[in-house]
Amino acid sequence: MIDPQTEHRRFLDHFLPVRGTLRSFLYAATRDLHEAEDLCQQVGAVLWRKFSQFDESRPFSAWAVGIARMELLKWRDRSRRAARSRSMSDDAIAALAEAAVESAATPIPEADGRSAALKDCLNRLAPRAREAIERKYRDGQPIKTIAEAQGREVGAVEMALVRARRALKQCIEQALLRTEHRDRVR
């Protein structure tokens, strides 16, 4: 008899490394953070329910993305019927799913220092850029609202956000790479 705890642990060993890619895939397709989170939970539940059917000789990531794609298509059909929003085409979803499988094949380990690096890099941004980033990603404000709050044109805020994100990403990657290098040569 299979110990449920062991089985659950085994499932998590497979699921957790690919969860990030699943979230990204679902968010890219839905453009709705809450829908993406709900779908991701749903996918997790389906994967767990069907875990006994999973063939361990095959990559879990491909199976997980396949399930996610099916749940996404079901969500899309429901959305279309409810006319809630325009949803992504089949071809685009298929292309995103392929990219997700490839990406999930080498999951990036969660870097312990990522939060600290983000905080440090955020502190390095110029005040208005930092404010725009915080309004957008912490407070969830749309760009138009941020522009009004800062007394700027929407285009200026869009560009500011793009550049701030690039700067943050570069800063974080450099910080993590230095940490990675330091840890590896010890």
Partner: protein
């Protein structure tokens, strides 16, 4: 569509402010090009990472003027492409009486904080030019050369998009000389190409002269046999080990390299070569950053000789000094270009020379 336009389109897509036509165009691009599909996935991942990070980071409020470090690439400009982080005086950066901004420091690298003085670290960072993926979608993610002016030039023939990380062909490796180095730690997503054949990256294979090492989404570190020198190749990077009895040579085609270099024997320096420059390492600790049209070499220990590929000009950069490398006709930036933070030190811009070979370093 240039890189900025595409990134703005993606920003609008996730913001929900893109028009129906823009969304359709984006979806057609995603469906038609796997590289763009991958870019969309990365953009979604970045969005989520920021949301997750900011909801938990608890970053302290910024007190105007309190922070003494800035990332100059942060666009606090006017949205007309002029933003370079130095802003317009409304950023809360109080100017000093001499009209200069407060001194800003690049954070010390962990290597700089280490006490060991018999091993030195060299970091070479060839950061992919932002948005380049859209302009040349068939090339690998990271394109920037290591040392001198990156922008989109790769050393070898353009590669197809990222190779599947777990699809290394299990073919018999061509006969090779004794390994120069071997991979330490994790090797997920690393491929080694020898004689045109992909071989496994496990320690048993080792890395031989003229092997080409490629990383996928995570870094890989290898150690030279018989010494403490360690090389960490960043994600999405490509490096060839070459050299002869005269010294080691790393040919960085694209991406990032950090090197922890044990002091080399006289006359046998380690050379890092890119299509645009070469950096000779005898025993140094420095950082090289490449972004857009500029590369900056900043030395914190020892001396590095930098050769600018465009005109062969050379310069020796020592501890506490830095130099920007760009096209000779571009002049020298009077303030950090987009993508570069402020640093302290002495700018050696006036010391490039095509005629005088600097003394002091052998070779």
């Amino acid at each position: 569509m240039n890189d900025d336009e595409r990134d703005i389109l993606l920003a609008r897509y996730f913001d929900g402010s893109a028009t129906a036509e823009q969304v359709e165009a984006l979806e057609r691009a995603i469906a038609g090009d796997p590289v763009i599909a991958r870019m969309m996935l990365i953009a979604a991942s970045d969005e989520l990472a920021l949301r997750d990070g900011l909801s938990t980071a608890g970053a302290a409020s910024l007190t105007p003027g309190a922070a003494d470090e800035r990332v100059s690439a942060a666009a606090d400009g006017d949205g007309n492409g002029n933003g370079n982080g130095n802003g317009d005086g409304h950023n809360g950066h109080a100017r000093q009486p001499n009209g200069n901004r407060p001194p800003m420091r690049l954070a010390d690298t962990p290597a700089a904080a280490r006490a060991e003085d018999h091993s030195d670290s060299l970091s070479i960072h060839a950061h992919p030019a932002a948005g380049r993926w859209f302009r040349q979608p068939k090339l690998w993610l990271a394109t920037a050369a290591c040392l001198l002016i990156a922008a989109g030039i790769t050393y070898w023939v353009a590669r197809p998009s990222a190779p599947p990380a777990n699809n290394v062909a299990s073919k018999p490796a061509p006969a090779s000389a004794a390994p120069l180095a071997s991979i330490t730690g994790r090797a997920a997503g690393v491929t080694i190409e020898r004689g045109g054949v992909a071989v496994g990256s496990d320690a048993a294979n080792g890395i031989s002269r003229d092997d080409i090492i490629r990383t996928a989404s995570i870094p890989a570190t290898f150690a030279y046999a018989g010494e403490q020198t360690r090389i960490t190749l960043g994600p999405a990077s490509r490096l060839k080990l070459s050299g002869d009895a005269g010294g080691k040579q790393l040919e960085l085609a694209s991406g990032t390299v950090f090197c922890d270099v044990q002091k080399q024997q006289p006359g046998k320096s380690l050379l890092v070569v890119t299509p645009h420059a070469k950096v000779q390492v005898v025993g140094t600790r420095f950082e090289v950053q490449t972004y857009g049209a500029w590369t900056r070499v900043n030395v914190t220990q020892g001396t590095v000789r930098v050769t600018r590929a465009a005109d062969g000009a050379m310069i020796d950069v020592s501890a506490g000094e830095f130099v920007y490398c760009g096209k000779p006709t571009a002049g020298n930036p009077t303030r950090p270009p987009v993508g570069f933070s402020m640093i302290q030190g002495r700018d050696l811009a006036d010391y490039w020379s095509t005629k005088v070979k600097p003394a002091g370093l052998e070779h």
